[in-house]
């Protein structure tokens, strides 16, 4: 019904939006949101291809695992962001530049 390439396009666009958010946002939480977008795009892709795999259900299984992992990622990231905020008193990644050569 819906061609596969459309799904792929949508997921690609979402991925790029998420990429943009990661690269140019001045807020750590926005970066986290960008990462979530990228993950969501990947999950959409998995699911779109998973339609053609009834026996193993590989696509959907991996989509589930990916969702779980995304959740874990967010949890840990928020804890880290909180710690960073406690130390640096702001969450602007451009000011956190101590880890350089």
């Amino acid at each position: 019904m819906i061609p596969l390439s459309h799904f792929m396009l949508i997921s690609g666009l979402l991925f790029c939006i998420g990429l943009y958010a990661v690269l140019s946002k001045r807020n750590a939480i926005m970066i986290l949101i960008g990462i979530e977008f990228m993950l969501n795009a990947a999950i959409l892709n998995l699911v779109a291809f998973g339609k053609y795999d009834k026996q193993v259900m590989g696509g959907q299984m991996f989509a589930l695992f990916a969702i779980v992992l995304a959740a874990a990622t967010v949890a840990v990231s928020l804890a880290i962001i909180l710690n960073v905020y406690t130390y640096y008193k702001n969450i602007d990644p451009t000011t956190i530049d101590q880890l350089r050569d």
Binding site: L19, L23, P93, I96, D97, L99, R100
Partner: protein, 684 residues
Amino acid sequence: MEALISEHIILISLLVAVMPLLTFFGSLIFRGNVIRSGSFAIFYIGLSLLLSVVVFVQVWNGPSIHEQFHWFTIGSWELRIGVLLNNLSVLMMLLVSGIALLVNIYSTKYMQGDPYIRRYWAYLGLFCFSMLGMVIVDNLLLVYMFWELVGFSSYLLIGFWFTRSTAVRANKKAFIMNRLGDLGFLIGIMIIFSQFQTLDITRLFGNEGLVEAAVVSGGSWIGSAGSMPAEWLTIAGIVFFLAAVAKSAQFPLHTWLPDAMEGPTSVSSLIHAATMVAAGVFLIARVYPLFDDTVLLVIASIGAFTAFMAATIALTQNDIKRILAFSTISQLGFMMLAMGVGASGSALFHLVTHAFFKCLLFLAAGAILHEMAHLKEKSGKDFDPQDIRNMGGLRKYMPVTFITMAIGSLALVALPLTSGYLSKDAILIQSFEWAEGVGGWHRLIPVSAMITSWLTAFYISRLIFKVFFGEFRLSALTSGLHVHEAPAAMKYVLVILSVFCLFPVFSLNPLLFEDAWILQGFPQVESMTRINAFHTVVPAAVNLISIALICLCYKWYAVRQSAPDFSRSVLFKFSQDQWHLDRFYSSVLVSGTTAFAGFLYWIDRYIVDGIVNSAGVLGRWLASGSRWIDRYVVDGLVNFSGYLAGIVGNFVRHFQTGRLQHYLVTMLIIILTLFIYKYYTAAI
């Protein structure tokens, strides 16, 4: 005894020459009264005289004695030197040693009290050695050596009182002018050597000598060893004559002789009257066969001209020694004239007689000066003791001096009964005979010689009358003090010399010169025919007019002091300033040379040194250029590479921002680049 002498004649002649050299060394090395009083010098020169008498007796009019030994060899040419004793040698030897002894005796009194008397005896000894050496050697090279040594001794003696600047200038002038003559001598030696390959006098100038054998044909002078263009024969003659011109003070190299009077008067008498100036005549006599007709004419002309010129200058001089100096130049001109017309025997005869009477005149003048200097000291007034205008009436106070000086003057004027008459008349008559033989303009030469004799009479009698007659012109100044007679040593020398001025020493016949024994010893020139007319007319004319001039002088200067005053006329000034020759030499030659030297100094200082300095400046400039290159280019490159590394490093450093998103961007850029590259290469 006879055999002993004849065996060792050469050794004896060598001793004659060397004795005065012992005086030279001894006077410089030893001290003591023996030296200072002159006994040392007199002993040796007396010994020289004695031995030269012995040699003279042995050799005169006999065969010439010649001995040589080998000195050194250059390549295949060996130089043999030795002693040659012929008439000319022994005559000169006797003359020189005799006059030297008399002057030495005179000097004991004249130079008494001088603080540098040892040097004086030494230099006199050196001079006698060099003069005696010159007359006995047989090689032109050795004659040249002794010639220069004579010039050097003259330099030392003229500048004896070297603290006086005039003496120093005079001896420098004498030495430099003599050197000009030496140049001629050297050129002559070179020409003769290249033509004949030998410098031996007997081989060159003896009978059947190489010079006589050489012929001039087809424009070239063909000698034994080669040939050269014929002009060189004339040139050789001219340059030898040039040597004689310088040494015997002929025109134009005569200006040193009047200035040489700065030396002591005894020195002037020995060197510049009797002996050294005669060395020029001696040289002409030695190389006589070399001269051809052109050269002989030149010799005669210059001799005649010099004689005339010097006589005209002597007319107006006021310094007693200068009058006598110009008189010497004039008489030497006579000798040269005689040589030029071919009467070499007469020239040598006149040399001998001139030596005696000129030496006498100088020594007498020295005595007068000695006394005048004493008078100046005693009276404490300042006047020139040599000026004849300050003298007068000295006949009363110095009778012996007066008589001897008068005899010498008569010999100079050449009145009969004197030796001078014989020799000068020989010259005059023979020059007239020569002019008759040649004819034309050449007659001017003997005529000018005759006029010069008259002028001689005038100036010497002016001298005598002004000095000895009348009243003492300075009696007011010296308030009654007057001069005394000369001391004994000086007086007796004057007397001995005056004896030699009279005829008996030279010829038993007072009127005929052919009987003179000196002339017998020298060959006469056959080309001159004897013209009897001259033998009576010439002496008569000369002597009568001379006597007339003497009487005129007497009237003007002795009796009434009524000489007409010519001092404002042009001719008088011309004569008094020595025909402006000295001034001309000084302003043109001396100034020209010093200006040239100054110009060369300027070139050396600014151009040569300038080039050297500019080379240094160039080197410095190049060095600064290379320093600039080193500092800005080389170091610049090195610094630039460091700067470049800094720039690149600084640029790259900024990639490490520590900002997360920058790292992500960089990483993604690289991934994208890879994707695009892969895509495009795959697409193409």
